[in-house]
Symmetry: C2
Amino acid sequence: MALIVQKYGGTSVGSIERIEHVADKVAATRRQGHQVVVVVSAMSGETDRLLGLARAITERPDPRELDVLLATGEQVTIALLAIALAKRGCPARSYTGAQVHILTDSAHNKARIRDIDAARVRRDLAEGRVVVVAGFQGVDEHGNITTLGRGGSDTTAVALAAALGADECQIFTDVDGVYTTDPRVAPEARRLDRITFEEMLEMASLGSKVLQIRAVEFAGKYNVPLRVLSTFEEGPGTLITYEEPEMEQPLISGVAFNRDEAKLTVVGVPDQPGVAWRILGPIAEANIEVDMIVQNVGEDGTTDFTFTVHRNDYPKALEILKATAAELGAREVTGDDRIVKISLVGVGMRSHAGIASRMFEALAKEGINIRMISTSEIKISVVVDEKYLELGVRALHEAFELDRGPVPAAEGAAPAAGEAPSGS
Amino acid sequence: MALIVQKYGGTSVGSIERIEHVADKVAATRRQGHQVVVVVSAMSGETDRLLGLARAITERPDPRELDVLLATGEQVTIALLAIALAKRGCPARSYTGAQVHILTDSAHNKARIRDIDAARVRRDLAEGRVVVVAGFQGVDEHGNITTLGRGGSDTTAVALAAALGADECQIFTDVDGVYTTDPRVAPEARRLDRITFEEMLEMASLGSKVLQIRAVEFAGKYNVPLRVLSTFEEGPGTLITYEEPEMEQPLISGVAFNRDEAKLTVVGVPDQPGVAWRILGPIAEANIEVDMIVQNVGEDGTTDFTFTVHRNDYPKALEILKATAAELGAREVTGDDRIVKISLVGVGMRSHAGIASRMFEALAKEGINIRMISTSEIKISVVVDEKYLELGVRALHEAFELDRGPVPAAEGAAPAAGEAPSGS
C-alpha cells in the first residue's frame, strides 16, 4: 500500500464528464489498496470567467479580494469531485486550502507556501477516505485567503506530498510525459521514462508547460518523486527523481527552446564595479524578468553587457535601458526581438567534455549563426535568429541521437536525453 | 453615527451593474458617518447553476460536499462587492462565513447558527472599513463548511446585527416595504411604516416572501430593529420592532393569505387520547409540514380531525391518511385541495373583542362560506374555497379600512394594518 498524491489540472476536470472520469481513476487507485490524496484545479475556463467578472468592475481589482474570488474556482471542483466519488461508493472529503491549513505568506495572487498541517488529512486517510484538496490556494497567518498564482495547483500537490511523506506525486495533464523535445518541432521526439529534478528544472524554465517550475523545485528540495502522466491515456508517464548512481546515464536529456525571447545590449559601458547592478536595477524595478545575462571582458576600459527578456517586455526594457545608458555614458544600446533560445539539457554534461563543441558543430553545419552563448552545470544555451528555431532543434536532436532509447554511457555512444513539449 | 447591517439579496446583486449600484448605496451610507456591515447572497441564478452541476453527477449529492459547492456562490459576491467598494475609495474587506466564525451546528444544507465571533468585524469597523460578509453560510465546530438553507442570508444579517449590537438591520429587497396585503390582489393596499415582530411572523408564515421567518424570529429574540426596504427605489421602507406602549395601536395590521393549501379530514375517529398523535405521526415522518389543525368536540364517542398541508403534499398525505384511518377504525377520509387560507393579523386583536364577528360578517356579506376557522393571539385564519380568495381579501381589507393611515385606537375607528406582498 502506497500513499499517492494525484493532481488533476483544469483541462482534466473541465466538464462534469471529465470529473466523473477523474473520479473513476481515483476510485481505481484506491481499490488497488493505495491511500489517495487528490489535488484539483478550477474547471478550465472558470478562472478566466471569474477574472472577467472582476475586470468588469475595474482593471485593477483589489488583490486580497481577487484571491477570495478566484479561490471559489477550485472549491467548486473539490465539491463536485467528492460528490462524484461518493456516488461511486468511495468515501471522500473535500478541503479548501484554508481548511487543511496550507499556510502561505500574505503576497496575494502569488503567495508562497510556508507550512502545511497534514494532521487532518492523515486522519481522513487513516479512516479510509480519499481526501480532495483545492489546489492553488492557501491562507495567511491572519486567516486571509491567498492564491499561489496561475498553475499553483502543482505546487499544492507537491507540498502536500512532502508534508505527508507520500510515495509519489502524480501530475495528470493532457500530455503523457516529458519528451526529448517538442514533438511538434521534431516529430521523432521520444517520451522519457525518467529525468532528474535538475534537468526538469532546466526544461521547465526553458518553456516547458508540463509542470510549474516552482513545483519541481519544491519536489527536488523535499525529494518527492514526481510523475507526469496523461489523464486521458493509460501509460507510465515520466518519473522525475534524484539522479541515482546506478541509473543509466544519458548524456543529454533533451533539447529545450524558448520562442519568446528578445535581447538587449549596452555597448561600450565603462568597465567598473557596480555597472551590472546599475543596468539591471531599473529593469528589475519595472518588474521585467531577465533570463540570460552575458558580459564580455572589455578591451579599452569599456565592455558590452547583454541580456535577454521576454519579448513582451522588450519595448519597455529598451526605453529604460536607453535612459540608463545615457547616465552611464555608454556608447549605444542595441536590441533584437526576433531571437530564440535553444538549450541542450542533461546531467551527463557535467562529467563529459566535448558536448559544447559537438553542439556548435551541429549548428554550424546547418549554417546557423550563434548570437549568444550561456552555460550552466547541466545546460548549454545559445541564442539564434528566430528563423532557425526548428532547424536548430532538429539538428541537435539528431546530432545527439535523442530519438534512440537509453544506451549505457559506458558504451560511449550518444545516449538518450529528454525534453518536454516545450513552449511557444 | 450608527452601526448598520445591510443585507442585499440575489436579485439586488444579480449582475455587475447591480453590484456597482449596491456599492454606491453602501458607500453613501458610510459617507453619512455610519459603520456598515454588508451581508450578500449569491448572484441570482448562481445557486441554481451550482445545484445543476451537482445534480448532473447525482440526484442526491453528498450534503457536506453540496455545502462546499454552494458556499462559493456568496463568496463570489463578497469579493466582487469588496472590489467595487475599493474602486470607490471605500475601504472594504470581505469574509466568508468561516472567516468570521459563524458557528453553526453540523446539519448540512439547513444548519442553524449557534454563535458569531464578532471581534474581527469590530476591528475592521474600528479601522474605518466596510465589512462584507457572505450570507447563507457558516462553519461547524469541526471546520466543515455549512449552509443555512435557502434564504439564510437574512438570518446571517440578523445574527450579525445581534452579535454586533447593531442599531438597525436593513433588508434590501425588490419591494419597498411590508404592505397591508398583496397589492396585486387589493390595489388599495398600503405600505406600513411599522409592524411588530409578532405580526411580521404571522405574515411571513402566511406566505409573505419579504423576509425569512427564521430571520424575523431571530430579530425578535435579540430585539434587533429590522427594516425592509427596496434596493431599487428610495424610501423609508417598513420598520419591524417590538410593540411599544406609546405606539399608536392599529387593531389590524394586514390581511395575509396562502393560496397553496389543501385540507384533509378524518371523519368519525374514536375520541380517545393519542388519536391526534397517531394521525399526525405518519404525516410528520413523511416530512409533510402541517399548517392548521382543527378538531371538534365529538358527539357519539367519535370526532372529526382536520388539518391543512401544502397543496403539493396533498396526494401523499391523503394516501398516508387512508392507511391510518383504516387502522384507527375511522369512518372515512375526505379532502379538498382547492382551498385557500385568509388571515387577519394584528396585535390590536388581543385587547379587542368583536374583531372575529366583524370578520365573519364581512365574508358572509359577500356570500363566502367559511370551511375552517383557527385563531391565535394575534391572528384569525379562515379556510375558504379557492375561488373566493381575491373577493375575501378585498372584503376584509375594506371592512377594516386598511387603506387608511394609522388612526389612534382611542378614536374607535378601525385603523390601519399591515401585510406583505404575500405569496402564490
